[in-house]
Structures are given as C-alpha cells and as structure tokens.
Amino acid sequence: MDPISLIIFIAVGGVLIGAGVHFIPVGGAPAAMATATGVGTGTAMLAAGAGMTGLVTAASLTGQSMIMVMLLGAVGAMIMMAFTMLIANYIYVYGCGVVPASAKVDNDPITGRPQEIYCTPGTEGHGIPTVCFVSGVIGALMGGAGGGLVYFVVNDALTKASLAAPMAAAFAGIIAISVYFINAVVASYNIGGTIEGFHDPKFKARIGKGFIACLLASIVCGIFVYVLIGGI
C-alpha cells in the first residue's frame, strides 16, 4: 500500500473514531451519582470497552474485505455499548429509582415524550433516555467501524509487505488500539468531559473542532505507522 493511501485511510478511521466519541452519552462523575444524563464513567472507559470489543470482532474476520471488517467492528462495538447502556439503565431505574430523562431537550427527539417533568430539580437529568441510547449506538457504530478500518489497512499493508499473517494481525491489532485511544481521548478533551449525544447543544458547538483535531492527530499517527511498517 502506498504511503498516501495508508495515511488517508488511517485519517478516515481516526476521524470516525473521534466523531463517534462525540455521540456517546458520557456522564462522568455526575452521572455516577444520577445527577446528569449518560453512563456514569469517563470517555476512556467507554471507548476502551466498545472499541476493544469492536477490534476483537473485526480481527475475527481477518482476511475478509474492508467493508466486512469495518461492519463487524461496528457491530461488536454497538453490542458492547448497547449492553453497557442497558445495564446502566437497569441500575439507574431499579437501583437508584430515577427515571431516564434528559435536561438538555424539552421533548425526546425520537419518542417525542416530555422530559422536563421527569427531571429531578437541581439535576441535569439522569439515566439514559431513548435519544441518548440511540446516539450511543450510532457513536459505537462509527467508532467500531473506524477502529476496524485502521486494523484492516495496517494488516493489509503488513501482509503485502510479506509478513506472516499472525504477526501482521498482532501488529495491526496493537496499532489499531493505540490509534483508537489517541483519537478517543483527543475527542473527549474536545467534549470537555460530559456530553449527552447528538441532541446536546455541545455536540453542534464542538464537533467541528473535534473533527480537525482528530484528523491532524490521525495523520501524525499515520505517518509513524508508515515508518513502523517500513521498518518491519
């Protein structure tokens, strides 16, 4: 694979990962106390869970076409993210006794149900309402597909450089994880901690800057991945 294509593919993968993170309802510490909407942990944890599951599922289709690897990466990450949000919701509803509701919108954009009357006064919502859940699954789709793409192109480049298949897969896996974390955390810096999903006003305000930051970070990663592949 020529260097320009490799760097472009890694940049596209990185941007998908970075954009995906903006969709995931990250609630952080306030959500852990059910005083903000989203899953009660940081981006790094959510990205690690969904991204790594996505990479494992993507790697299980090593040797298949790029679309298949990306799709399976996306499906793995979506399943992981959906389960994380579902179980978190069970804990919020049956453990904390709160109703999933968002304080950022008057009505849920998907179900149309009113949100404000269900928000506890003094909180910014709680639990994971439908719109956040759907947004989270979309985010995992993008992140998983991006991770799968990085895995595929690195594996492909290494295999074409006549490296044995298991070794190429091992290198591609660790490089994809590294690129995944770099982009996920740059994106989470851009979000500034917590976000509810695509309906959050923060989303529109920050996604542009996040796109540019992740694009540049991925291009840098791509250049060094090319050096690494050349050296192997």
Partner: protein, 263 residues
C-alpha cells in the same frame, strides 16, 4: 509528609530516562540478572510517568485521570515500536534502538499535545511537557518489559516474543494502570508526592511480578524477577499504607496515639 521537600520533576525525569535506558542496555550482562535489570529499568520509567501524571492531572483534565494515561500509552507504544523500526529502516546500529523508541514517543506526544492545546483549546500550562513525558515513560516501560521477555531490544526479537503472543496488549493496559492509578487513587486535598510515588513504586513492582510470570519459560531469571518484584511490592505497599495512615484525617488532627509507656 507534605512538609517534606518534594522531589523535582527534572530529577524524576532523569531517573526515568537514565534508569530506564540503563536497565534496557544491561539486558545482555547475564541471562539471569539481565531480565531483572530490564524490569527495574521499567520500574524507573513508571515512577517518572506517575509523577508526570500527577503534575498534569492536578490541574483537572475534565475527562478523568485515566484518559491521559491511555492516550499517552497509545502514543508510547506507537512511538516506541516506530522508533525500534526506524533503526532497520535507516540501517542504524541496533544499540540506538531504545533511544530512538524514547525520542519518537516524545515527539509524537509533543505533537498530539500541541494539537490538544492549540486546536482543542486545553488550558493546562504543563500539558505539552507532561503528555510528552508520559508518552516517553510509557514507551520506555513497555520496551523495558518487552526486552526482559525477549532478551534483546531489537524489533525482530520483541515482535516474536512479545507482539506475536499478544503480551504487548497486556503491557499496554498494565503499564497504563501502573502509571495513572497512583494519582487517581491518591488525589484529593492532602495528596502528597511521596505517598503517590510510593504507590507508583508498589504498582511497578507488582507489574514486574506479572512480567516474571510471563518469563517462566526463561527459567531462573523468571524466579528472580518474581521474588524481587514481590519483595519490592511488599515493602513499598507497606510503606504506602503507613503513609496513608499517617495522612488520615484523624491522625493529622490529633496526632498518633501515645504509646503505653509514654502515658
């Protein structure tokens, strides 16, 4: 305690770089002691990284302490492996491999931190220096542990012994935890450098016990690593518990209980 003079970041940087590189270079000294020295090099790098995390996360990242740890270790692994690969690409002598691994990780860390600062708009003054430092510490610690397992610091040896069996993924998470967890566990109003770094030492020794377990095929070298790691962990963790007890609020307010004979 807090009234003691803190160790300067530059001194810990020197400890991490010199100790880490020395440990890696001494791998060939003896098949039994070499891997242990490489592991101890990794311990030095982890202490350096933990101090850098302490400096940067003290400002409040807004994304949690682990986030910068994961990102920097990602940079560290990418940079470390690229640095090792650069040696064969540029046909340089193998002896410069660990230095190149460190330098490339520092450079990528620097660039990503500049992106975070200039484009994302992070307002932490030490972000650039500390991200580069953590990435460098991550690269050195991973290369040191990999060298201990592979018996050499060349990319081909590390690829066969560490990357192919997937141990590199374990080192990624384990070293991230060892570097970021001390500050994450100790942060708060009465956090002090000595206690945080003591926990970092304990974590690093615990990590080398795991490296020792992976190195069992090497024979006696593994036993030595496990014993040293376990003894190191026991001593440092006991010290950490003592420091934690001393710092506990009730003790700070009322002093230690008087001994019976003093009453």
């Amino acid at each position: 305690m807090a009234d003691e003079k803190p160790v300067s970041s530059n001194m810990l940087l020197a400890l991490g770089i010199i100790g880490g590189l020395l440990g890696i270079y001494l791998i060939g000294i003896n098949p039994i002691i070499g891997p242990l020295l490489a592991c101890l090099g990794g311990v030095c790098a982890i202490i350096w990284g933990a101090n850098a995390i302490r400096s940067v996360a003290g400002y409040g990242l807004g994304t949690g302490v682990p986030s910068i740890g994961y990102m920097s270790l990602g940079i560290g692994i990418l940079g470390g492996l690229s640095g090792l690969a650069l040696v064969s690409l540029l046909k340089l002598p193998a002896i410069v491999s660990p230095i190149l691994a460190l330098v490339v990780a520092l450079i990528i860390g620097l660039i990503i931190a500049v992106i975070a600062k200039k484009i994302v708009g992070m307002k932490i003054p030490v972000l650039i220096r500390c991200t580069a430092e953590i990435a460098g510490a991550g690269a050195l610690s991973v290369v040191a542990f990999s060298t201990a397992l592979a018996g050499s610091y060349t990319l081909s040896a590390i690829a066969t012994s560490v990357i192919l069996p997937g141990y590199i993924a374990l080192f990624f998470i384990m070293n991230t935890m060892a570097i970021q967890e001390p500050f994450n566990a100790c942060l708060g109003p009465n956090e002090d450098q000595r206690r945080t770094l003591t926990l970092a030492v304990a974590n690093a020794f615990l990590a080398i016990v795991v490296v020792g377990l992976l190195a069992i095929p090497l024979g006696y070298a593994a036993l030595l690593i496990i014993v040293v790691g376990f003894v190191g962990w026991l001593c440092s963790y006991k010290k950490f518990l003592k420091l934690s007890n001393e710092a506990a609020a009730s003790v700070v307010w009322s002093g230690l209980w008087p001994k019976l004979e003093d009453q």
